[in-house]
C-alpha cells in the first residue's frame, strides 16, 4: 500500500502538464482587476500622526479662543459699568509697598480729577504721595476708567482681601479696590488721605509682590493692564469694584527648555517579510544596551494652561551585536621517516598531511543608532507657586538617522548596518513617533524651573531598506531631566 502511494507521489508530485497558450495574458488581465487592497489610509502611521497633531492643535486653538473670549467679555463688562470720569494726568509718583517686601515702584500716576474735590491719597508706606480727586457724583471706579483710557495708571494700595492675595507664581495678580470709604488711611504707615464726604475712593489694596519682581515696574505693564483687566466683582449700585485681576502674565510667555534623558529602548522587528530563522538569529545576536536623548525645546504659552513646545533633540541608541566569524585554517604536516633496509641503504619516506581546521571567533560589535528628531508637543499645565504639573502629548519626527555597526543580511552574512556603505541593510528614513509624558516642574529661582519628565515614545513607522524584507522601529521609555528658563519680557513698555 505504501509502495503504491509512494509510486504515485513520486510520479505525479512534480509532474508537469502542458500549460495552455494565452493563460499568462489572462492572468495579467485578472491580476490587474484584483490588485491587492491597499492599506486603508486611516491605518497609515503618517496619517494617524497627522490626525493626532490636527486634533491637538484644534483643542489648543479652541481652548485659547475660549479663554480669550471670556477675558474680552469680562473686560467689556467692566467698561460698561464704569462711570465716565473726566480725568487728567498727573505726573505724581507713588511708592508702593507690599506686606512682606518693600518694593518700590515709581509710578507716573494718572489720576482723575474733578474741580470740587481734591483728594490726596498717599500711597504705600514710603513717602511718595499721590494726589487724587474724585467727582462726588461719579465716585466709584475711576481707576478702571483711567486704566482703560490711559496708558499709565496708578493703582492704590491698601489692605488686600485674603482671597485675592498674591499667591501664584503664575502671576494671577490682583488689585483689590475698596471704594466704600471716603476718607481712609491707606497702608499701614501713613498716609495722608484726603477726605471727601461724598466721594468714594477706590483703593488698590495691594499689588502682587511677584508682579513687581517679574514685571519690574508697574508702569511697564500698563499696556497689558489695558488689554487684560478682568473684573472679579463689580457692584454697580455702590459703584464699587471689589477686585480686578491683573492679567496672568504667564500667558504668552516663552520658555527655553534644556533637557537630557537616559532611555530604555525596545526594538520591534517587523517580521512580516522575514523568515523565522533570520529573526531568531537577530534576536540571539542583538541586545540593546542603553541610550540617551538630549535636546532643547522652545515652549510658548497659549494661555494659562496650554502651551506648545518644539525644538530639536538628539537620540542615540547603543546595541551590542555578537556574531560568529567563521574561519578555516590549513595545517600541513610533513613527516619524514628514515630507515635502513636490509641492503644497508638508507631510505627516506616523506608523508605529507594537510589538516583543515574550521572554527569560529565570537565577535562583538557595538552598533550605534543616531537620530535627529523634531518634537512637536502640546502641553496642559496646572500648578501652584512652586510646583507645576503638566501632561504632554505630541509627535516626534525623526528627520535624520545615522547608523554605525554591523548586522545580518538576508543570507545571514555580516553586513554593514547603514546603506551608506555597500550591502548596507538600514537606510535613513523619516519616521514618526507618538510621544506622551508628564512633567513635574519646581521653581528654583527667578525665571528658572527644574523639571522631570517621564515619557514614552512609540514608533509609528519602520526604518529599513526598501529592498530588504523586514523593518524595525524603536519604542522608548525615558526620563527627561532639565531646566526651564522663562524668557523675560524686554519689550514691554
Amino acid at each position: 500500500m505504501k509502495e503504491f502511494d509512494k509510486y504515485i507521489k513520486d510520479n505525479l508530485y512534480n509532474y508537469e502538464s502542458p500549460v495552455p497558450e494565452g493563460l499568462w495574458d489572462r492572468i495579467v488581465a485578472d491580476k490587474d482587476k484584483k490588485k491587492p487592497t491597499p492599506i486603508p489610509f486611516w491605518k497609515n502611521g503618517y496619517f494617524q500622526s497627522a490626525i493626532i497633531a490636527v486634533i491637538a492643535f484644534a483643542i489648543l486653538g479652541a481652548a485659547n479662543w475660549y479663554t480669550n473670549r471670556n477675558t474680552n467679555t469680562s473686560a467689556s463688562t467692566t467698561q460698561k459699568e464704569t462711570p465716565l470720569v473726566k480725568t487728567t494726568s498727573l505726573d505724581n509718583t507713588a511708592s508702593i509697598s507690599t506686606k512682606n517686601t518693600n518694593v518700590t515702584a515709581t509710578i507716573p500716576a494718572t489720576l482723575t480729577k474733578q474741580e470740587e474735590n481734591k483728594t490726596v491719597a498717599s500711597l504705600g508706606f514710603s513717602a511718595a504721595t499721590t494726589k487724587k480727586s474724585y467727582d462726588k457724583k461719579n465716585v466709584g471706579s475711576p481707576i478702571d476708567q483711567s486704566i482703560a483710557k490711559f496708558s499709565k495708571t496708578l493703582v492704590h494700595t491698601g489692605n488686600i482681601p485674603t482671597e485675592l492675595a498674591p499667591s501664584s507664581k503664575t502671576e494671577s495678580n490682583a488689585i483689590a479696590i475698596n471704594s466704600t470709604v471716603a476718607e481712609k488711611h491707606i497702608g499701614n504707615n501713613n498716609s495722608e488721605t484726603s477726605n471727601t464726604d461724598n466721594s468714594q475712593i477706590n483703593q488698590v489694596n495691594e499689588i502682587d509682590n511677584h508682579y513687581f519682581e517679574r514685571g519690574s515696574i508697574l508702569t511697564k505693564t500698563t499696556s497689558l493692564l489695558t488689554n487684560k483687566l478682568v473684573s472679579k466683582t463689580l457692584t454697580d449700585s455702590k459703584k464699587t469694584i471689589t477686585a480686578i485681576h491683573l492679567p496672568n502674565t504667564s500667558a504668552k510667555n516663552w520658555f527655553v527648555e534644556l533637557y537630557a534623558s537616559p532611555d530604555y529602548d525596545i526594538k520591534k522587528v517587523n517580521t512580516s517579510g522575514a523568515n523565522s530563522l533570520y529573526t531568531q538569529a537577530l534576536d540571539t545576536a542583538q541586545k540593546l544596551s542603553g541610550g540617551f536623548t538630549v535636546g532643547v525645546r522652545i515652549s510658548k504659552n497659549l494661555n494659562n494652561h496650554f502651551s506648545l513646545k518644539s525644538g530639536i533633540q538628539f537620540k542615540e541608541i547603543t546595541e551590542r551585536f555578537r556574531y560568529k566569524q567563521f574561519e578555516s585554517k590549513s595545517l600541513t604536516v610533513v613527516t619524514e621517516r628514515s630507515y635502513v633496509n636490509n641492503d644497508g641503504a638508507t631510505i627516506s619516506n616523506k608523508d605529507t598531511t594537510t589538516y583543515v581546521q574550521t572554527g569560529y571567533r565570537l565577535m562583538t560589535s557595538f552598533n550605534i543608532y543616531k537620530q535627529i528628531e523634531i518634537p512637536v508637543i502640546a502641553s496642559y499645565q496646572i500648578g501652584s507657586n512652586k510646583w507645576h504639573f503638566s501632561a504632554n502629548g505630541g509627535i516626534i519626527a525623526n528627520i535624520a538617522s545615522f547608523y554605525e555597526g554591523k548586522t545580518f543580511d538576508n543570507s545571514l552574512n555580516i553586513a554593514p548596518l547603514s546603506t551608506t556603505q555597500q550591502n548596507g541593510v538600514l537606510k535613513s528614513t523619516v519616521n514618526l513617533s507618538a510621544y506622551a509624558g508628564v512633567s513635574f516642574l519646581y521653581d528654583i529661582g527667578k525665571n528658572f524651573d527644574a523639571f522631570a519628565e517621564p515619557y514614552c515614545k512609540y514608533g509609528l513607522s519602520n526604518s529599513s531598506n526598501a529592498s530588504f524584507s523586514f523593518g524595525q522601529r524603536f519604542n522608548s521609555i525615558g526620563l527627561n531631566l532639565g531646566i526651564r528658563y522663562k524668557i523675560p519680557h524686554t519689550s514691554i513698555k
Partner: protein
C-alpha cells in the same frame, strides 16, 4: 546574456522580491517556472481542462497578490502549491462534492505486481486518477500526493476524518483495479 536567460537563472529569493515589487518580468518568470507543475495539480482536481485553467489562473493571481505574506517558513513552492490546492478545493466545494461510496468490490487491497508500475507513464496515471469519482479523487490527491493527513482533509472538506480514510481506501482499490485492467489489456 538574454533577459529570458537571466530570468531563468533568478534565485527563489530574487523571484519573490521581484514579484513583491510587481515586476512583470519576474512575475512572468515565476509563472513559467511553476505553471506546468501547478497545471497538473489543477488537472487532478478539475472536472475538465477548462476548469483546470480557471483554477490555475485564479491560483496565480492569488499567489501574486499574497506574496508579501510569505514568511519564508518552509518551501516557497509548497506555499504556492497550498494556495493552488485551496483554489481547487474552492471550485470543488461549489459543486457540492459528494462523498458517496461506490457499491461493489472487495475492501481488501489488491496486490499490484511491481513490474506493472514501470509500464505506466505519468500520463497514464493522470488519466486513471481523473477517472476516479470526485470524492475518491479529491481525497486521494490530498492524502497521497499532497501529503495532508485525514484530519486536515476532514477540516478542508468539511467531512469526518473517518470518511476521508474510507474514501482513500476505496480510491486506492479502484485505482489498483484500473491498473490491473490496463495490464490485462496490455497482455
Amino acid at each position: 546574456m538574454s533577459i529570458v536567460k537571466q530570468l531563468y537563472l533568478l534565485s527563489e529569493h530574487e523571484l519573490i522580491k521581484g514579484c513583491i515589487e510587481q515586476n512583470p518580468h519576474t512575475q512572468r518568470a515565476l509563472f513559467e517556472r511553476y505553471a506546468g507543475k501547478f497545471m497538473s495539480v489543477c488537472v487532478r482536481y478539475a472536472l475538465d481542462t477548462m476548469e483546470a485553467e480557471d483554477m490555475l489562473q485564479e491560483g496565480f493571481v492569488r499567489i501574486f497578490n499574497n506574496l508579501h505574506q510569505f514568511k519564508h517558513e518552509g518551501s516557497f513552492e509548497g506555499w504556492m502549491r497550498r494556495i493552488v490546492v485551496n483554489v481547487c478545493l474552492k471550485y470543488i466545494q461549489k459543486r457540492k462534492l459528494p462523498f458517496k461510496d461506490i457499491e461493489g468490490g472487495s475492501t481488501q487491497d489488491i496486490q499490484v505486481a511491481p513490474y506493472i508500475y514501470g509500464s505506466l507513464s505519468e500520463d497514464d496515471l493522470m488519466k486513471l486518477i481523473s477517472q476516479l469519482p470526485d470524492g475518491y479523487r479529491i481525497v486521494f490527491n490530498l492524502n497521497v500526493i499532497e501529503g495532508y493527513s485525514h484530519e486536515e482533509i476532514g477540516v478542508m472538506l468539511g467531512i469526518e476524518a473517518s470518511t476521508s480514510r474510507s474514501q482513500l481506501v476505496k480510491a486506492r482499490r479502484m485505482l489498483q483495479n484500473q491498473i490491473i485492467k490496463l495490464e490485462k489489456i496490455a497482455v
